[in-house]
């Protein structure tokens, strides 16, 4: 919302400065976004008088002038034809910045004659395009500030423009008068009375109006208008044009400018039809659907059924409360005009405006709510202004419906202010504030004014009083602690796990990413997503159309971008939500890590090698351990399609899958534009079970004094036998005696097959025996070894390697 200071002063009797006004506006909740003060760039210039002018000794077109200024007599060389003795001029001194020529003046020497400044033309001061000579003022004293002279004589040229941000609850501040009312309530001046008029109609309006019964209850409760015939629709007066231009509107013609002037001045949008182009009466009705309508913005819209329209016998002439029609619009040739002032339902206007994507000043106001009680008064005031500016004769008012009854009242509890806000304001002040804002007080009941649709309860009364009093004055009061003493833990188990996953991954060397929750359809499809339920109806780009089913697509895209920047080795992770469906709650917290390229940079020690599945597995296991997963887990090969089928696995507990790890499927890598090798893991954080009993106490530590014995075994097995089968078999050989079984070597490939036969490999296990009550004898060790060999051979179908 833009307005100018002089416009404000039409409604507010104030001596406050622009700074005081803008500060108060922001504090009142009408946040000032911009102030354009044309006086600022003219501030240095003062008035002066030419005492004497004579021809320059060396130039025919230049004059050397003696000029009386506030600093005494100065010599100035001037090229203007009108530079002559006795005229009052605008002086720019050395050191001043002259905006129209973008120059900061110095003391010059022009063809050998010193010049101490210049006398300006209108163009040089950006007042107009006039440059035929220097400014000659009809009045003014030497030394007077030029801006002061302008403020008195040409106020429009130095009228500061103020732009404020309007929150949706304050339609009243979409009119200059509403802004003035707030400032007056704050004490920055007095709201000037606005005398209403009633223009006597001289004839019956040839255009009648009728509201369709279907709309009377809600869409258009009240419509008023009248014809004014014999008008001359020329340009509007300068003062009006200046104000409209200052707020960024283009003056069009007097009739149109009046409607804009009322829109911004009084939040009373109006419409003018060229009465000669209207055939028959105007009918306000819901559109049947399919009607074509050429609007004033030059575009043709197709109405949907139920949209509110104003039609005559020809067809739709206006989109109610949003935009008028081109065909019945006023032009300079218009002589008879039909002036409309109506109340349109905010919701109906909003939904039509949104559906047709039309933004107009009228829509903006009607959907926030204009004053329903001002429909007729606004019509009368505008009629008077049109008669004043354009002449003509007004008809009687035609009207259908009646002003919407918005009367209501809420109890004013003066104690509520200190209870809710913590500010102590006497009851009399509270009542005075509300009255200044237009509330009617009756005992302890406060009735909001008709222009404040936002006031809908007792809390609103508190807000109004606090707002006008200024929240800046509010002093903080300590919030009492809920519990005395040391604060209690506040995080849930899942929140603690989320942190643990994140910190563990960073400790393992991964860089945390935060990638978008929405991804492109192709990537979503590759990771089992992309269903209709997770599609975004109005995506901002084709890269962000579906909620992500997994974190890996985002990490892979990030990896591709980094590879393109020349970073080949990457360790990226993300902890965040993935979405299984489009219903609230169909999301799951995942932690994913992605390793691309080599395990380490090149170095003199040969640390570098391509990342592989076992890097990913080790990191997944480290995170699982940090999350409190038990040590004994199952590893299966049941993984999703985006993993390499032979080089991936799932870590689970019974039916619960806690994590997947492996090489990313080569096709997926290619589709995502990542150059391999790439391995990854994904952990379902909430799938990791929490300990059943939560206690800080650790189980007792049992240590044996008896020395442990390590024995190594190598087995020849089929190449596809899994090591874990052998480990579990060995562990089962003697649960009391065997402390641990570790795979410490494997021998595979061509050389292995050459030694052990086609399709064979060897697995080497190290078994640690921990005696509990007596030292092991050779016989004991032999016995358990034999059992291990037997169990492993049976489970794997292999044999001890000789």
């Amino acid at each position: 919302m833009k307005f100018t200071l002089s416009w404000l002063k039409d409604h507010l009797d104030t001596s406050a400065s622009v700074d005081e006004i803008t500060e108060a506006l922001t504090d009142l909740g009408l946040e000032v976004e911009e102030v354009v003060n044309p006086a600022a760039r003219l501030a240095p210039f003062t008035l002066a008088r030419i005492l004497h002018a004579e021809k320059h000794p060396d130039a025919d077109k230049l004059r050397v002038c003696r000029v009386l200024t506030d600093e005494g007599e100065k010599q100035i060389v001037c090229g203007a034809p009108n530079a002559r003795e006795g005229i009052t001029v605008v002086l720019c001194k050395p050191g001043d910045y002259v905006p129209g020529i973008d120059v900061t003046l110095g003391i010059g020497k022009i063809r050998g004659v010193e010049s101490h400044g210049m006398m300006a033309s209108e163009r040089e001061l950006e007042l107009s395009d006039e440059h035929n000579g220097i400014i000659e003022l009809p009045s003014g004293e030497v030394g007077q500030k030029f801006v002061d002279w302008l403020a008195v004589n040409r106020p429009g040229t130095v009228d500061p423009m103020i732009e404020i941000k309007i929150t949706p609850n304050r339609p009243d501040a979409l009119g200059v008068r509403g802004i003035a009312r707030d400032l007056a309530a704050r004490g920055l001046g007095i709201l000037k009375p606005m005398p209403l008029v009633a223009v006597q109609g001289g004839f019956a309006s040839p255009v009648g109006v009728a509201i369709d019964p279907a709309l009377k209850a809600k869409g258009c409760p009240h419509f008023a208008g009248r014809t004014i015939r014999g008008v001359t629709n020329g340009a509007s007066p300068d003062w009006m044009q200046q104000r409209l231009k200052a707020i960024g509107l283009r003056p069009i013609s007097a009739l149109v400018d009046v409607t804009n002037y009322f829109t911004y001045g009084l939040n009373r949008p109006l419409h003018v039809f060229d009465a000669a182009k209207v055939k028959g009466d105007l009918r306000i009705h819901p559109a049947a659907g399919g009607e074509e309508f050429l609007a004033l913005d030059g575009k043709t819209y197709t109405l949907r059924a139920g949209m509110m329209a104003i039609s005559d016998e020809i067809g739709v002439e206006s989109l109610a409360g949003i935009m008028g029609g081109e065909l019945s619009g006023c032009t300079e040739a218009t002589t008879d005009v039909f002036l409309e002032s109506a109340f349109w339902d905010p919701i109906t206007v909003a939904s039509t405006g949104r559906a047709l994507k039309i933004n107009s000043d009228a829509r903006y106001r009607f959907e926030r709510g204009v004053d329903p009680a001002f429909t007729l008064d606004g019509l009368e005031l505008a009629t008077q202004m049109i008669l004043d500016l354009c002449g003509g004769e007004a008809s009687e008012v035609v009207e259908d419906g009646a002003p919407l009854d918005v009367s209501r009242a809420y109890k004013l509890d003066p104690a509520r202010l200190i209870r809710l806000v913590g500010m102590d304001i006497p009851e009399t002040t509270q009542r005075a504030t509300l009255e200044a804002l237009g509330f009617t007080l009756n005992g302890d009941m406060a009735a909001p004014p008709t222009w404040r649709p936002d006031v809908l309860g007792e809390a609103d009364l508190v807000e109004e009083v606090a707002r006008i009093a200024s929240l800046t004055k509010l002093q903080g009061i300590p919030l009492p602690r809920v519990n005395t003493g040391v604060p209690r833990p506040i995080l849930t188990e899942l929140q603690v796990k989320e942190r643990a996953a994140r910190r563990t991954l960073a400790a393992l060397g991964y860089n945390e990413c935060v990638t978008y929750s929405f991804i492109d359809a192709e990537a979503a499809g590759l990771f089992g997503g992309g269903a209709e339920a997770v599609r975004i109806e109005n995506p901002i780009s084709s890269e962000m159309t579906h909620l992500r089913p997994d974190l890996l697509p985002g990490l892979l895209r990030a990896a591709a971008r980094n590879q393109a920047r020349g970073f080949a080795d990457l360790a990226l992770f993300e902890v965040g939500p993935a979405f299984q469906g489009g219903e609230p709650g169909e999301q799951q917290l995942l932690a994913s890590g992605l390793l691309v390229g080599a395990s380490a940079p090149r170095d003199p020690f040969g640390s570098r090698r391509p990342v592989d599945v076992f890097d990913a597995k080790a990191d997944a296991e480290a995170v699982l351990a940090a999350l409190g997963a038990p040590a004994r887990v199952q590893v299966s090969r049941k993984v999703a399609s985006w993993w390499h089928p032979g080089r991936s696995g799932a870590i689970g507990l019974g039916p619960t899958v806690m994590a997947s790890f492996g090489e990313v499927h080569p096709k997926v890598l290619q589709a995502m534009g990542v150059k391999g090798p790439a391995v990854a893991f994904t952990i379902a954080v909430s799938a990791v079970p929490s300990p059943k009993v939560k206690t800080p106490t650790r189980p007792a530590l049992t240590l044996s004094d008896l020395q442990a014995v390590d024995r190594d075994f190598a087995f020849v097995v089929d190449a596809k036998v899994e090591a874990l089968t052998a480990v579990n078999a060995a562990l089962g050989a003697d649960k009391a005696l065997i402390d641990s079984v570790k795979v410490f070597d494997q021998f595979t490939g061509e050389k292995a097959e050459a030694q052990m036969g086609a399709g064979k490999k060897s697995i080497a296990l190290s078994v640690r025996l921990q005696p509990r009550d007596k030292t092991l004898t050779d016989a004991d060790i032999e016995a358990v070894s034999a059992k291990i060999v037997e169990k492993v051979s049976k489970a794997t179908g292999g044999a001890l390697r000789r």
Partner: protein, 360 residues
């Protein structure tokens, strides 16, 4: 007796001139070995008279100790020389780099969320969460934003697709963390103190906007919590978060459908030299929106507004992270540029806590 002196001189010389450990061992065997000269003399003691044996024996023992000591000293000397020789050959270029250790980082958004948790946790606020796909009711209606309310348009909402023939309003990607207020109050009732950090979504992308960003919601409901308590809470938070001795906040009247009264909150700052300094200077920086929870919102969440009241606030996590850590561009937060992650990220062990200060 002269014989012993000669013996002494002979062996001490031999020890001194022994070139290596094997030569030294030969000397030892010659003197102190079973068949050595000293040992042989020892063997003669048995045949001597007691007086003579005593005197000669004592002298022999002295001689034996002296030679033994010389042998040991020489042996140590030779070992040192050998080690010195080895060390002289063992030279490495220690300017070579150490073996690479990976260095991971925590994203600033995560770090700041933990900072928020540390501060508000101390003030008794728990951390609440809610779904990011929200129903229209939780995201708008329950927060006193009815359908067609102009405030809805300012939210630039992302809508989820609806199945064919589905009549309910489309679900939305939550446009703010405020729906978590409703969910938390509905689940827990009053009194309640929670913060709710998380992802939010708006259809907006330009120099300073990303279609996804992070907010933290704060909510405190009790019998007597007032807007003055809100101001104090925010002052304490800002002082702790920005790690400055003091801050000054300015409340400006504003409007949010879900609070009444509502205030935008500015913090005093200085931009001198292009560097933001919180807590001093003549500028004001808008950092959050807040207010007293609207009675309709309390009712929507099943909390009786005649019994309970309190405040709510919401602020941008990415934004306060940018302000605190001097990060210039919001969109870079979500681009995962390795250089950015390394530069603005935090070490794994930089866990914010109040006793140690939030940042290192």
């Amino acid at each position: 007796m002269d014989g012993l002196d000669a013996l002494k001189a002979k062996y001490l010389t031999a020890v001194a001139t022994a070139a290596d450990e094997s030569a030294l061992e030969e000397v030892r065997l010659g003197a102190l070995g079973k068949k050595g000269e000293i040992s042989a003399l020892m063997a003669t003691l048995g045949k001597m008279e007691p007086d003579q044996r005593k005197a000669f024996g004592a002298m022999l023992n002295v001689l034996k100790d002296e030679i033994d000591a010389a042998l040991r000293a020489k042996k140590a000397g030779l070992a040192d020389a050998t080690l010195d020789e080895r060390l002289r050959s063992e030279w490495l270029d220690v300017t070579l780099p150490g073996r690479p250790r990976p260095r991971g980082t925590i994203h600033p958004v995560s770090q700041v969320m933990e900072e928020l948790t540390a501060i508000f946790g101390d003030m008794g606020f728990a951390v609440a969460e809610g779904p990011q796909v929200e129903s229209d009711w939780y995201n708008f209606d329950a927060l006193n934003i009815p359908p067609e309310h102009p405030a809805r348009q300012e939210h630039d909402t992302f809508f989820m697709a609806r199945a064919e023939g589905e009549n309910r309003p489309p679900h939305v990607l939550r446009t703010h963390t405020s729906p978590v207020q409703i969910r938390a109050m509905a689940a827990q009732g009053a009194p309640i103190r929670v913060i709710a950090p998380g992802r939010v979504y708006r259809m907006d992308m330009d120099q300073t906007h990303a279609p996804m960003f992070h907010q933290v919601e704060g909510l405190a409901i009790d019998r007597h919590i007032s807007m003055a308590n809100l101001k104090w809470t925010l002052e304490e938070f800002c002082r702790a978060f920005f790690e400055v001795p003091s801050v000054e906040l300015r409340f400006r009247a504003s409007h949010f459908p879900f609070t009444e009264p509502s205030a935008e909150v500015d913090i005093r700052c200085s931009w001198e030299g292009g560097q933001l300094k919180i807590g001093q200077g003549d500028s004001w920086l808008e950092i959050l929106g807040s207010g007293m929870v609207h009675p309709k919102v309390l009712s929507a969440a099943g909390v009786d507004p005649t019994q309970w009241q309190g405040f709510a606030f919401g602020m941008g996590i990415d934004r306060i992270a940018m302000l605190k850590y001097g990060i210039p561009d919001l969109r870079a937060f979500f681009e995962s540029d390795l250089r950015w992650l390394r530069h603005y990220g935090f070490a794994a062990l930089d866990m914010p806590d109040l006793p140690g200060g939030l940042s290192r």
